[in-house]
């Protein structure tokens, strides 16, 4: 029985790590702009598919492919900000969010033209048998995803709390006008935040594609769950997205295991709603910050 429970937990951790990585991407743009970037899922897809393109199609070495993938994703994030967000600066926040939806649809279309509708995958980072813990199986790639997620949280934390650039970025979100008055280049900060979150999304895509495969229309599904993870943990809280992601993943898996797999999405989302009813700012969010921000 323990083995079965362990297997359910591992499955939940596998899925949860994916949600956590996506959720983290939402937080960066949110922290800098208060915008919810609903094209975040497409950056994850881009990460996976570009990585496939560089390693399997162009046959470049692994690390070079990673760098090229991240650069391309960053560039696309930059273009997105320059072409769609910047011209509309000063528009309502809600309008901006709608724009990100439009971008996600356009990106999905472009990805479909380039890659078609088939799923893609490549070898895990390290080959070898999956690990056995208490008789339950966990894929090596899941450990990679976990490791990458944890180090990214650490880096994101350092960036927003210990560097000038990161602090300046958070200031932009809280009050753009005041940030401008103290000499912060707000438009540059917004641009950087889009580049960063595109790269973060791409990292996620690179890491999860060997587990779940990647196809052009996986973005919205990833974005919804990642977004849930982010708001459950408290929007803008790096650690929150991760905890939220794992909670949702594990709940889904336990529901599938002990109740029925048909209910897994519903139960996880109902529990998320319940948490938000009792603590609207999310697990790690603070009430006072919520009141200052528009979303």
């Amino acid at each position: 029985m323990l083995t079965v429970l362990m297997q359910f937990l591992f499955s939940g951790i596998t899925v949860g790590a994916v949600y956590a990585l996506v959720g983290l991407g939402f937080n960066i743009i949110y922290n800098a702009t208060s915008i919810i970037n609903l094209a975040q899922g497409e950056f994850v897809v881009l990460g996976g598919l570009l990585m496939w393109f560089f390693t399997e199609s162009v046959k470049l070495p692994f690390f070079l492919s990673v760098i090229l993938t991240l650069l391309s994703a960053g560039l696309i994030g930059l273009l997105m900000e320059r072409l769609t967000i910047r011209p509309l600066r000063g528009a309502e926040l809600l309008v901006m969010i709608m724009i990100t939806v439009a971008v996600s649809i356009v990106l999905r279309g472009l990805i479909m033209f380039k890659f078609g509708k088939d799923p893609y995958g490549y070898e895990p980072f390290t080959s070898g048998e999956p690990l056995m813990i208490f008789g339950a199986v966990i894929q090596q790639q899941v450990l990679w995803v976990l490791g990458i997620t944890l180090s990214l949280i650490f880096l994101v934390y350092l960036f927003f709390n210990k560097t000038m650039l990161g602090k300046a970025m958070s200031a932009c979100a809280v009050n753009p006008l005041a940030a401008k008055l103290v000499g912060i280049n707000v438009s540059k900060m917004i641009m950087i935040s889009f580049v960063l979150s595109a790269i973060l999304g791409a990292v996620g895509g690179i890491a999860i594609t060997p587990i779940s495969l990647m196809e052009y229309d996986k973005g919205p599904a990833l974005a919804v769950k990642g977004f849930c993870a982010a708001i459950m943990g408290g929007l803008g809280q790096g650690m929150g997205a991760v905890v939220g992601g794992f909670i949702i993943g594990i709940l889904e898996s336990l529901t599938a295991g002990y109740i029925h797999s048909g209910f897994k999405d519903a139960v996880a989302l109902v529990i998320m709603l319940a948490i938000l009813v009792f603590k609207p700012s999310g697990i790690f969010g603070s009430k006072s910050v919520m009141q200052v921000r528009k979303f």
Partner: protein, 386 residues
């Protein structure tokens, strides 16, 4: 002014005549067939190869001189995988283009939406979707045919194989889409007939990235085999999970498994997976005298040469649908009622990509479980199980 206008009309007339001669000397008017496929939307993995196949056949037939000297014109409409758009497309084809027959749509839902439309218009429809109710009850589906094998036939093929190997307790896992729903129903309904007990009945979402929970549960429930019913990346993910967990029980897939791409993506995890597949994917392993071999070979190589991809089982459904209508047109000419009668009465022992068709008044699909071969994966390639 008047003479000038007449001059222009004359000029137009001359040009038109010239064009008629230029078009390979067709003097007869074209035969128009409508085609409705889910070229975009969630079912586009069906619609795309179907559209490609229909257009390829049209070019091939016209290059070879058309149908009794009449050029063939296939007008393809995109239903966007939606019932309402399929109905609109059918109305446009029937009323504006005056087509003689329609092939498609790609999905069961869209095909069902067209049943009353086609019955009212008294025009034959050859659907490319698999659902049982598309052609049943037959007396209410006078104008409706379909080319894909029934889901039930694929299930029967699997259960027959299981029975032969002494498997009686089975766990099923199905994708939460129309394809999975139909498969799940067929699996549950048919099991008692073969003395098979379903000990676990699990589901998963189309974009899920891990199914170890479902598989663990199935194994814990005492199943002797797992059947997965899905199309898309889910069937690869589940194959990898099955391999990683070392469940020690065989994995059966549905007839949606028949793409080389799945073997590539699953790698060595795919070894030993069993599935009932149409003969399109294993044509090179058929005996030379098999009636389907030559046409499968030609279809696959033509398709690959033109589109740089596999046609897959789904493209084959459109091939069969178009060729049935074309043969009827060749024999009976542009008469909707006669085309219908020809398909019902004369498509017998008719080799297509999906199997050897035997249409009748009682069966507007004409395929049973003999349309499938039980195929396993061995050394990264398909192998027919005897």
């Amino acid at each position: 002014m008047k003479s000038k206008k007449h001059g222009f009309l004359k000029f137009l007339a001359v040009i038109t005549v010239l064009f008629c001669f230029a078009a390979k000397g067709y003097s007869k008017e074209p035969y128009k067939i409508g085609a409705i496929f889910s070229v975009t939307g969630p079912a586009s993995f069906l619609g795309e190869p179907e559209k490609n196949t229909a257009l390829m056949l049209m070019d091939q037939i016209n290059k070879a001189g058309g149908i009794n000297g009449h050029p063939l014109e296939i007008i393809v409409e995109d239903s966007k995988s939606a019932e309402a758009d399929a109905v609109l497309a059918a109305k446009k084809l029937l009323e504006k283009d005056n087509v003689l027959a329609i092939v498609g749509p790609s999905t069961t839902g869209e095909s069902m939406a067209l049943v009353p439309v086609m019955n009212n218009a008294k025009t034959p429809l050859v659907s490319c979707a698999a659902g049982y109710p598309i052609t049943n009850p037959v007396n209410e589906r006078y104008w409706i045919f379909k080319t894909p094998q029934y889901d039930v036939s694929a299930v029967e093929a699997i259960y027959t194989h299981m029975k032969k190997h002494g498997i009686t307790k089975v766990g099923i896992v199905t994708i939460a889409t129309g394809f999975g729903d139909a498969g799940r129903k067929a699996l549950l309904d048919t099991a008692p007939k073969f003395g098979i007990t379903i000990v676990a009945d699990e589901r998963y979402g189309a974009k899920d990235s891990d199914m170890t929970t479902q598989l663990t549960k199935i194994k814990a429930a005492g199943a002797q085999a797992v059947i997965n019913w899905s199309v898309g990346p889910g069937q690869v993910v589940i194959t990898k999970n099955w391999h990683d967990l070392k469940l020690g029980i065989p994995l059966y897939q549905s007839h949606g498994w028949g793409s080389k791409k799945n073997i590539e993506l699953a790698g060595k995890a795919a070894e030993g997976v069993i599935a009932p597949l149409g003969r399109l994917v294993v044509w090179d392993k058929l005996p030379d005298k098999h009636p389907q071999k030559a046409l499968l070979k030609k279809y696959e190589s033509d398709y690959k040469a033109r589109y740089k991809g596999e046609p897959g089982t789904f493209g084959g459904h459109a091939y069969d649908a178009v060729m049935m209508v074309v043969e009827a047109l060749k024999k009976v000419g542009p008469d909707k009622a006669k085309i219908r009668d020809y398909i019902e009465k004369n498509i017998k022992k008719w080799p297509g990509t999906g199997g050897i068709f035997n249409m009748s008044e009682k069966d507007h699909c004409g395929l049973d479980m003999t349309a499938f071969e039980m195929v396993t994966v061995k050394n990264g390639d398909w192998e027919i199980l005897k």
